[in-house]
Amino acid sequence: MKLWKTTLAAAVLSLAAATSAFAARSDLTLGIVLEPPHLDPTAGAAAAIGEVTYANVFEGLTRIDDNGQVQPALAQSWAVSDDGKVYTFKLHSGVKFHDGSAFSADDVKFSLDRARAKDSLNPQKPLFAHITNVTAVDPATVKVTLDGPQGDFLYDMGQVAAVIVGRASADGNKDKPIGTGPFKLDHWAKGSEITLVKNPDYWGTPAALDKATFRIVPDAAAAVPALLSGDIQAFANMPAQDALAQVQSDPRFSVVIGSTEGETILSINNKKPPFDKLAVRQALASAIDRSAIIAAASNGLGKPIGSHFSPGDAGYVDLTGVYPHDIAKAKAYLKEAGLENGFSATIKLPPVPYARDGGQVIQSQLKEIGVNLQIVPVEWAEWLSQVFTNKDYDLTIVSHVEPNDIDIYSRPGYYFQYDNPKFNDVIKELGTTVDKDKRLELLSEAQKILAHDVPAVYLFELPKIGVWDAKLQGMWTNWPIEADDLTKVKWTD
């Protein structure tokens, strides 16, 4: 009798355990700070668009993984011609868009031709500039011809703005995104939340989550109670600020500090006197103390950088020691420039904590060498028109979040107003070099030129402060591109 009871109890217990295992959660609510203006990555630059849609809703020929490596996506394999000009992509078959229409080579041709067209509004149009022809050989084969070998081509095809859209649905993607990914849009309550649900017809490995909600939490003060109350279970990048320590000490949450592609820099208007003098720029570089700026502007979490390159990427060279923090040396540089009494300038700061907080530290640091900065706070719209478009600025602080963007210093008319033929040659050669070792060598050379020539003062790499429920697995640690890829995210118990 007793044995019978024990057996029954054991059976009940194991049954309970089994049900709880089956009942593992399959929904997730993530917090995001900025709401995407719309959901079409091929029509807008806002990073929030990619955060929600990349890999979840839309897929490209290739994709970028957590480590910044290129992986196959809609293209299962590819071949490159000997001269490096022709890429032949073999596509997955049986792929369907969320509206039920079949995906084929024709959609790839349509997407790439649309992105490179004369009237294209693709925010990353330069990525497609070297494509001269796209041919759908058969429904599962696409041939892309370039005007020359392109070292980054496969990577570029995995970027957010290079996702493949359907010919029939492309124009409606802003409001009703139709992709090929493992999640599809369920509804978007504007100003409140965007809900994705699992795509039952997905061609690849299905997602573990049935439902993912991106809830917009614009206020840093609201983010912490939202997390503590359990309303929100994950922030890919939390605006935690001072409350981070509180969350870190709570065993219910994982705090994972990762890296991004955001080089946070003190941009200099290189054509505007006195910044056209190398010695003045060297003085700025020697006068700033990165550790104090990192402490104030990123809670001490950013990694110091000495050039325009992410410490997480292959080919990184540590150049933070080129101009060490040295006030006497900085003053000597100013004297060399004929400005031993210092000078005054303005610094325009966009409305992000790293810029507003970092700007004040830089202001006080430069005061020590007699450079008086007047802080001018600006909104993003003003920053883009005044600083970026009209180049009406002396100094500014901004994070350049695009991956692999060291080439911006060679772009004509870019807001740095930097023009160094030697640097331009290196970038030109890099663009057409496919060989891995040669590429790393060129990248290292490019980094060194910038570090010594100081077209901008390099501050730190923006950290990604991942905070999520400790039972959640599969969230990205790093942000090689700004994406909240949920394809491998699941609850464990």
Binding site: A46, L121, D175, S229, S385
Partner: protein, 349 residues
Amino acid sequence: MTAHLLKRLIIAALTLVLASIVVFAVMEILPGDPARLMLGMNASADQVEVLRNQMGLNAPLVLRYLHWAAGLLSLDFGRSYTYSVPVIDLVRERIAVSLPLALIALALSTIIAIPVGVFSASRQGRAGDTLAMGAAQLGVAVPNFWFALMLIYLFAVWLHLVPAGGFPGWSAGIWAALKSLLLPAVALALPQAAILARVARSALIEVLNEDYIRTARAKGLPYRAVLWRHALRNAMIPVLTILGLQFAFLLAGTIIIENVFYLPGLGRLIFQAITQRDLIVVESIVMLLVAAVILINLLVDFSYAIVDPRLRAIPGKVRSGFPSGIAPKQILRAVQRFRETRNRSRGRQ
């Protein structure tokens, strides 16, 4: 009464026209290009120009104003640049949050403020009054976002009674939606109630010193009846004025509370639209709000007539409910002059 109504309507129309010009001009002066904002830092100048043409930003200013104003007249509020949906749809979604929130907050504020005001006035200068007014002073002084955070930590994080923020939408059920509006409504109501209580108290004290109150008491009416039936009714005009202003504020001026509770309300929509230079959204919504404020003031004005029968008896007596900032003095004077000449011509007939 009809003349009064007509006059108020003319003032309202003139105010709307003036407001539309000011709103349009201000948004045009604001630096920043919506097209560049949408396309970001890697787009070329040519691309920005293509988008500007698509958005109609390159048309002459006056033409764009007229086009927009004509749209407003036919109740077409245009399409959002960023969301690319009709502005009116955005407003409809947001008003479903903002209007109930404002109404709940207003109701809470009135329920708290009137009894406190009456209590204080009837015990003027005594301990109860000092205590109540001290509390009201505190209510005005406490920043409402801080108060909101305290409410969140207490009721959402600690007690788990309500969500910490967000709005599930009315489709999620009335109770779920109301639950998420409760804390924000309390946070909004407290400072409003504090102001209202102080106004109610001083208005009531003034009335209580009137002769007719003494007369009422002298003829033997109990103090309680005098206070609630005679005095309070006469003290309602300033209270109603403040209530009208508070309602207008609660509709769209609650951006901080909306941020703390991440509610998709009107205030946040305007704020977001300004930072994204979604000009058409800002312009159209501000115009809708101007119209709402004017309407509220009209209603307040007519409610004076309900609480104070004397205002019904004197035709055309000017009792402007407009805050001075909204109806320019010149307009008021112009209307006054219009009425005087009209009266004179009537006299000649």
